[in-house]
């Protein structure tokens, strides 16, 4: 699955690059970055996931291995769940693990770091699973990348709202349990349903 370490670090590098563009482009005030840092990290995570998705099935389609998967006796949806989780390990998980370091560079207070970390841990698998549906629907199209974005970003926004919302809550000293439950519920839903949608989408588009 992972040919080499470089494919593992690439989404991470992407994530870091996106996040680091902001310090260069915002007014240099210590407090500003600290206040928006959490949001910036969430946006970077969403973008990094989304961008990595475009290639999730694309080369498989181009070289014909996707067709071979389609006619393999294993359950396609199970295989897709596996593929999505592997993809998540190489994108969402890694960038979640890395996020605390980024938080430190943004001077984000430590109670927020934990919330951000947990939020990303619960949120990024859903991002990948939901995004894979979009990737599967657009795999046969050139310029699928933008269409993926159009399709899946509406579905990402709730996750973003819950995830980034927690940070604002914490900053104001409020509870975040309800948001955590919401993220967990979204995750449960995506794990159970998304694989079927992905498999269905592939069967529809490959012909």
């Amino acid at each position: 699955m992972f040919r080499n370490t470089s494919s593992l670090i690439q989404p991470l590098v992407f994530f870091i690059i996106i996040a680091l563009l902001f310090p260069f482009s915002l007014p240099a005030e210590g407090l500003l970055l600290q206040r928006i840092g959490g949001g910036v990290i969430w946006v970077s995570a969403v973008l990094a996931t989304m961008l990595s998705l475009e290639s999730m099935f694309h080369s498989d389609y181009q070289d014909g291995t996707l067709e071979q998967m389609l006619i393999h006796p294993r359950s396609l949806s199970l295989a897709m769940l596996g593929k999505a989780l592997a993809h998540w390990t190489a994108t969402g998980l890694i960038l979640t693990l890395f996020s605390p370091l980024l938080c430190v560079t943004f001077n984000i207070p430590s109670e927020q770091i934990w919330v951000l970390f947990t939020g990303l841990l619960l949120g990024t698998p859903s991002l990948t699973l939901i995004g894979a549906i979009g990737a599967a629907l657009t795999v046969t199209l050139r310029r699928g990348g933008v269409l993926i974005a159009i399709i899946i970003l509406p579905l990402y926004i709730p996750i973003l709202i819950f995830g980034a919302g927690m940070l604002t809550q914490v900053a104001q000293g409020l509870e975040v349990t309800s948001q955590l439950y919401a993220l967990a519920a979204i995750l449960a839903l995506s794990i159970t349903l998304a694989p079927f949608a992905i498999a269905g989408a592939l069967r529809i588009t490959i012909n």
Binding site: L137, T140, L141, P158, G200
Partner: protein, 259 residues
């Protein structure tokens, strides 16, 4: 024969007749005008009571009269999505051609209703909240719904092959249906500037009858409008899809010779 069997037979009969493009076309030529007429009658009554009869609100003055378009349109934006997703599921599961047509033809109508809800809502928001737009749960989720409608239309037009496009569109609309409860409950789950659930509130509508009545007329009127507009555009789609078939050619040819 027992009544359940009769009803069942009737339902399955209509289902199968509506499932065939040709039958649909024939039937819809009678039902469409009926929908249009019902829409006109109901919405004119609603307008009369809403604009002329209902007294001004003691807090909002006359600005509350936006309610009679905003609320029906906002409800329709959700209702159309539910119809669209249901039809999509039916199409995918039972491979019913006409269900896909319902999904695809509903999307622009739903998008228009959503855009209207956003516009009337923000126009209304200016006097009430002092701003056209806030990034609040109800407003944001409704905006997401608009994007979702756009995404669904974009997917349909992205595929060259019609059958693929239909199925892909149906799948996406089924997946996106989660947004509907989110929009509906957004005012309860998050603190929101937007009005809470008023009409379908527990313990009956929290709204005086002189407001509720015209609202109901408008709401049902818009429902029929949706039916009307949907059937018109479905007729076009059916003609377009079946342009090579004999019955469409006969139909067009006859028209031409009569005129």
């Amino acid at each position: 024969m027992n009544p359940i069997t009769i009803i069942w037979n009737f339902l399955s009969n209509t289902y199968h007749r509506l499932g065939s493009p040709r039958e649909f076309y024939t039937i819809s030529r009678y039902t469409t005008p009926v929908f249009g007429a019902l829409f006109l009658v109901l919405s004119l009554i609603g307008t009369y009571f809403g604009l002329f009869v209902a007294p001004a609100d003691y807090q909002q003055g006359d600005s509350f009269r936006i309610l009679f378009v905003h609320v029906p349109v906002a409800w329709m934006s959700l209702f159309v999505y539910v119809v669209m997703a249901t039809a999509g599921a039916i199409g995918l599961i039972w491979r019913m051609k006409m269900a896909f047509v319902v999904t695809i033809c509903s999307a622009p109508i739903g998008a228009a209703f959503t855009a209207l809800a956003l516009m009337t809502g923000s126009i209304w928001g200016k006097p009430i909240w002092g701003t056209y737009w806030v990034w609040d749960a109800r407003l944001t989720s409704e905006l997401i719904l608009l994007f979702l409608y756009f995404g669904i239309m974009a997917v349909y037009y992205a595929f060259e092959d019609r059958k693929t496009a239909e199925k892909a569109t149906a799948l996406l609309s089924v997946v996106g249906v989660v947004i509907v409860p989110i929009i509906h409950y957004s005012v309860e789950w998050w603190s929101s500037l937007h009005q809470g659930v008023t009409v379908f509130a527990e313990g009956g509508p929290k709204m005086p009858p002189e407001m509720l009545l015209p609202l109901a007329f408008m709401a049902f009127g818009f429902m029929f409008f949706y039916g009307y507009a949907l059937f018109l555009s479905m007729q076009n789609k059916v003609l377009d899809n079946e342009r090579k078939s004999g019955w469409v050619r006969a139909l067009v040819n006859n028209k031409e010779q009569q005129s």
